[in-house]
């Protein structure tokens, strides 16, 4: 294992991320913060939503920001770099097993997703104003959830980025990510689906459910949520599956 090459590739990704920082910032945070403002501030302030909704909403917004950032940070560069310009070729020719290049991309995506998740907490807190009741009872569980959600989003980005062409990016967001976010228990807890039993079972195939419910269980345990152990296990399962699929797809794209 060539750690120097691996580190240099991480440094390259950090350098590019710094260069695009402002663009990345708006891309990642504008939509969730607008949502927080309208639903958490305007709707609650005007009395259409109960005040507790603020605290219920925040973990879902964190999950969305992390998932979106991780997928975007890994999939978009890969889609562009595997296009006919083959920008990734200089890294494929670096003296390192090419699987490590994919793993480096995942690690870079995980870091970005975790940063996005941690940055959105104070930002959303500011936008929401008073009345947000976060209480982290088990920091270890919270860190584990953050790590597994970051890994899920980055591995998902790897699998998607190596399976899609540039012309399908729009489709990926409108047909895949948008439904996953809306059916991902992001804006409501899973228990809110009690009245829709079929839907409630069906959404369990959606990994974002475990991301939001895991965040809810570790940040606002006062609300009903799925068991944290179950969400950890489910996230781990999705991480492994997406990593295996992603590595295979990467190999297919990288070597003809």
């Amino acid at each position: 294992m060539n750690w120097k090459a691996f580190g240099a590739m991480l440094a390259r990704d950090a350098h590019v991320a710094r260069r695009n920082a402002i663009q990345l910032f708006f891309q990642t945070f504008l939509q969730p913060l607008l949502f927080v403002f309208i639903f958490g501030r305007v709707m609650v302030g005007s009395g259409y939503m109960p005040p507790q909704y603020k605290s219920l909403l925040l973990p879902g917004i964190i999950a969305i920001s992390m998932v979106f950032t991780g997928i975007w940070a890994v999939a978009m560069p890969l889609i562009a770099e595997f296009q006919w310009t083959r920008e990734i070729e200089d890294r494929l020719l670096a003296p390192i097993d090419i699987r490590w290049i994919a793993i480096e991309k995942v690690l870079a995506g995980m870091i970005q997703a975790a940063v996005a998740g941690l940055v959105v907490i104070p930002l959303a807190w500011l936008v929401l104003g008073r009345g947000v009741g976060l209480s982290v009872q088990s920091p270890v569980e919270f860190i584990a959830i953050v790590l597994l959600v970051s890994a899920f989003s980055a591995c998902g980005g790897l699998a998607l980025g190596c399976s899609m062409n540039q012309q399908h990016i729009g489709l990926m967001f409108s047909m895949l990510l948008t439904p996953m976010i809306f059916f991902g228990c992001t804006y409501y807890p899973w228990s809110a689906l009690d009245k829709f039993p079929i839907l409630q079972k069906a959404v369990l195939i959606n990994p974002i459910v475990y991301a939001s419910e895991g965040m809810r269980g570790t940040l606002v345990p006062q609300f009903p949520h799925l068991s944290t152990l179950a969400t950890l296990a489910a996230l781990l399962f999705f991480d492994v599956v997406l990593l295996v699929v992603g590595l295979r797809q990467f190999d297919k794209k990288a070597i003809s």
Binding site: W84, R86, S256
Partner: protein, 337 residues
């Protein structure tokens, strides 16, 4: 220490469209029945060669001959269907990281990291190869200078002209001082001046004891640069020798491409018996290729023979000894076809 290259019976069959990066290919396989709708494309058909350390070796052939696929296999970028390849002592497929340390690759089309500036492309490339910070900065500056890119060093490469991107590709390939440099169609799209600069750079690099493998479909480039040359067609080597020996191997050396109003077997026979004629080939009933050891001085005799055989000479093209003639002699096709 310079390294050599060896391949043994390399075969590559694409069952889907080959990637753009590997160039175009000639579809040769046929789909067997409706169960096999995908056409199979044979890019390499048992290619074996040996390149000596310190040699400038050329692969010459038309588009789709398998040159880029050969480079792809040797640079770990294309997985061969069967066969083996070694760079120095290292098996290309089993010891990829070691192989990648030894080689530098200039691709057919620029594949720069568009998120970086020209200088950053060189610096990060060197960092991937574990070069220290001071060393890589110094080397990047000297290569930028050598390739006349210093004034654009801190600009993003997206706006670079084709020639500038090509120069940067070569600088990048040389950044980690590889023992073996691959150049895939290095002068495609370059102006004549830059091409001469490129040739000088290749020769200089070779003088440092480095091995060079280049592919080209320009005969003059192969002739001017290469110590040895393999002529490739349909994924096979059809001739391999020094450019001089290869040219000398064409019967006679001169090629006269002739057309007659009426081409009879008797005419062909009488052409064959003219002094200096080595070989006569009739192509499609009207065109005839004559390989001979003289050129223009044969024409009056050919014209006379044609008249007496009842077939008037209608068109003449004479080419002097060249690799183009050699290719034609082996394949019946022009390199430019």
């Amino acid at each position: 220490m310079a390294v050599g290259v060896r391949t043994q019976d390399l075969r590559k069959i694409y069952s889907s469209a080959p990637p753009m990066a590997a160039g175009g290919f000639v579809a040769r396989g046929s789909a067997k029945g409706s169960k096999q709708p995908k056409p199979q494309i044979t890019a390499l058909d048992g290619l074996s060669l040996e390149i000596q350390p310190g040699e400038i070796f050329g692969l010459l052939g038309p588009n789709g001959a398998g040159k880029s696929t050969t480079v792809g296999v040797l640079t770990t970028r294309v997985r061969p269907t069967s066969g083996q390849a070694w760079i120095g002592q290292h098996d290309v497929w089993k010891e990829q990281a070691e192989v990648k340390h030894l080689i530098g690759v200039v691709p057919q089309r620029p594949n720069h990291d568009f998120s970086l500036t020209a200088r950053e492309i060189l610096i990060f490339h060197a960092a991937y190869f574990g070069m220290g910070s001071k060393e890589r900065n110094e080397r990047a500056d000297s290569l930028l200078e050598k390739f006349k890119l210093t004034d654009r060093a801190n600009q993003m490469v997206r706006g670079f002209s084709g020639g500038m991107m090509q120069r940067l590709s070569i600088a990048r390939a040389m950044m980690h001082d590889p023992q073996l440099l691959f150049l895939d169609e290095p002068s495609a799209g370059l102006d004549p001046q830059t091409r001469i600069l490129l040739w000088d750079i290749i020769r200089d690099y070779n003088r440092e004891g480095k091995t060079i493998l280049l592919t080209t479909h320009y005969m003059e480039e192969a002739d001017a640069l290469c110590h040895r040359l393999a002529i490739v067609d349909h994924g096979k080597i059809i001739a391999l020798d020094t450019p001089q020996q290869l040219k000398a191997s064409i019967p006679g050396g001169y090629l006269l491409r002739l057309r007659f109003g009426n081409q009879t077997p008797e005419l062909l026979q009488r052409l064959q018996s003219l002094a200096g004629v080595r070989e006569v080939r009739s192509n499609d009933g009207t065109a005839t290729d004559v390989y001979a050891d003289r050129g223009g001085s044969l024409i009056p005799e050919i014209a006379a023979v044609a008249v007496s055989a009842g077939g008037e000479l209608s068109d003449v093209h004479i080419s002097e000894p060249s690799l183009e003639n050699l290719f034609l002699h082996h394949t019946g096709r022009s390199l430019r076809d």
